[in-house]
């Protein structure tokens, strides 16, 4: 099963809509609730990252019998220092993002904790592509 969702830049009024739809799909497939929570936490953090930090992007969801793969691909501007971005508490979020309750510097660390396999391509001035895999 393949689903695609477009994520806008800076529009927090729609933050979580893609994650919410993916959650509904996973529930229908009778995946255990704890596993769904782990998957959705990672997807939601990534979705919020696209809105907060990028020029917009897409979430691609591929569900197979034994695994779920989520690709989150934005259109830039790329992460300058990925090691720092993976550090708990480190954030480049603007005040506007913080007022929304985000920007605690826990996004990528939470994603890493939640998924079984994580690949990140990013480069300053280029885009960011996150691939998350979850065993079922």
């Amino acid at each position: 099963m393949h689903e695609e969702f477009t994520i806008p830049s800076k529009d927090f009024s729609v933050a979580g809509e893609a994650s919410s739809k993916i959650k509904r799909i996973l529930k229908q497939l009778n995946i255990p609730p704890l596993r769904i929570k782990q998957i959705i936490v990672a997807v939601f953090e990534a979705e919020v990252n696209v809105i907060a930090h990028s020029y917009g992007g897409k979430v691609l969801c591929d569900i197979e019998e034994d695994r779920v793969q989520i690709d989150v691909i934005d259109t830039g501007p790329g992460i300058e220092n990925l090691d720092l971005a993976m550090t708990e508490g480190w954030s480049t979020a603007t005040n506007e993002v913080r007022e929304m309750g985000y920007g605690a510097g826990m996004g990528l660390p939470n994603i890493k904790k939640s998924c079984d396999e994580l690949k990140i391509y990013t480069k300053k001035g280029d885009h960011t592509h996150i691939t998350m895999r979850f065993a079922l």
Binding site: S19, K23, K37, G101
Partner: protein
């Protein structure tokens, strides 16, 4: 003198939402069907990424963040009850979203610190 761990001081293993609201002089805005919910733990934060680290069930989220993001985050973390502090009233769009997702919304006049302290003293367990 040997002091017991906090766990041993618990008066109640769980609290019903209606007992939580009595404890903090809270008012329910929406979600009467949740008043009998057995809440096992409380978590107080305005940082939604902190909330997203919780994998336990039957939590009440106590927060000063009165916007749609607190409802969305509760949805992702399977949290069914939200308590807003400092008399923060939710917007209509927050209430609509809470209804759609079946999440109760309440508010208390107390601060995040006082509301959490009262509930902790009453025996509501923390997450961490």
């Amino acid at each position: 003198m040997l002091y017991g761990r906090a766990e041993h001081c618990a008066i109640l293993p769980t609290m019903k939402l209606k007992e939580i609201l009595e404890c903090v002089d809270g008012k329910l805005i929406w979600g009467e069907s949740h008043l009998e919910d057995e809440v096992k733990r409380g978590f107080a934060s305005d940082l939604m990424s902190d909330v997203l680290t919780i994998l336990e069930d039957d939590i009440i989220l106590i927060t000063g963040l009165s916007n749609n993001q607190s409802i969305r985050t509760a949805e992702m973390s399977d949290i069914s009850n939200i308590l807003l502090v400092r008399n923060k009233r939710p917007s209509q769009s927050m209430i609509d979203m809470a209804k759609e997702l079946d999440i109760s919304l309440s508010y208390t006049p107390y601060s995040l610190f006082k509301a959490s302290g009262l509930l902790f003293a009453k025996g509501l367990k923390p997450v961490y």
